[in-house]
Amino acid sequence: MGGVTSFTLDERLVPAGPIAGVFAELSAQFWHQPHLSAELVELCRLTLAVMHGAPDEQKLRHPSSQNPAEPKIAAVLAQAWRKNPAFSPAEQAALDFTEYYFMDPGSIPDEVAGAVLAHFGESGLVCLVEVLGFVDSRIRLALIYSSLSA
């Protein structure tokens, strides 16, 4: 039973008891906050999926994602979103931040964080790092559980 994704992870965590429910609830909440659109959260999720080399994750579209246009999804999956006019400056700032975050959060340049602040404000920046933290964590755990459950 391989092929666990962030979409199916929660059922694998149920043995942990009530903590699994809290983890699932918080993870779901990031799709329904006022600071970042669900479409942008989905583009960030797909960016992290690409950087993790997680093909099963890349094939999925989150049901709360407000369905980003397929050309934008294709551009994210091809890592071809930079200077792509389909992406707003705010989206480009968030995706740029996401790539640095994945590699090393200590490497995020001030100008990259500053661009996120300029578009989304302080609450938006904090929300973005929280979103990335939990989306990234869920992809990591899904990859691990794909092997653990095999």
Partner: protein, 171 residues
């Protein structure tokens, strides 16, 4: 990364270190995060000293100076010593840590460095030492610690070093 914080903490301080941190700027999620953190420590399936070893391995790897300086009092009361903490370094497999502690750290390293690299040998090792419920608890704890420390590092304002601080799990 500069030492200047990229955001200001909430103006309204509550005495809760999580709600008073930058996370308090996102009121839609901060209460759930505080509940998750509290539940991680009080779940009861994994002893606090083992969770603290996992948390400190994550802190070292992410290089979160705040996280590295903290010691949770319930972990110390559960037997965590600074000698043990010194062993949470590269080369821990050859240390005096117990088999459970070494297996938990190997699990953490897989998560932190190569989540696609869970080998059959590591899977068998984990399953021979931990129950399914314990593995799931370790997984959620690690995810929580990692998200929090990456959040702290991403938001800047990290000093080069801090003294060790013993704190309680915030309510």
């Amino acid at each position: 990364m500069g030492i200047v914080a990229r955001v200001n903490p909430p103006k309204m301080q509550t005495g809760n270190v999580i709600r008073d941190s930058a996370m308090g700027l996102v009121p839609e999620t901060v209460d759930l995060f505080a509940t998750l953190n509290k539940t991680v420590w009080r779940n009861g399936l994994v002893r606090p000293a083992l969770l603290e070893i996992l948390r400190l391995r994550n802190a070292r790897t992410v290089n979160c100076v705040f996280c590295k300086s903290v010691r949770y009092d319930i972990a110390k009361a559960d037997g965590l010593s600074e000698e043990k903490v010194d062993n949470i370094a590269d080369g821990f497999e050859g240390s005096s840590l117990s088999d459970r502690e070494k297996a938990a750290l190997a699990f953490a390293d897989c998560y932190l460095f190569d989540p696609k690299g869970m080998t059959p040998a590591l899977t068998a090792r984990l399953k021979s030492i931990f129950s399914e419920a314990e593995i799931a608890t370790l997984a959620i704890a690690l995810a929580t610690f990692n998200a929090a420390s990456r959040c702290a590092v991403s938001l800047g304002g990290m000093p080069d070093s801090l003294p060790i601080m013993e704190i309680s799990v915030p309510d």
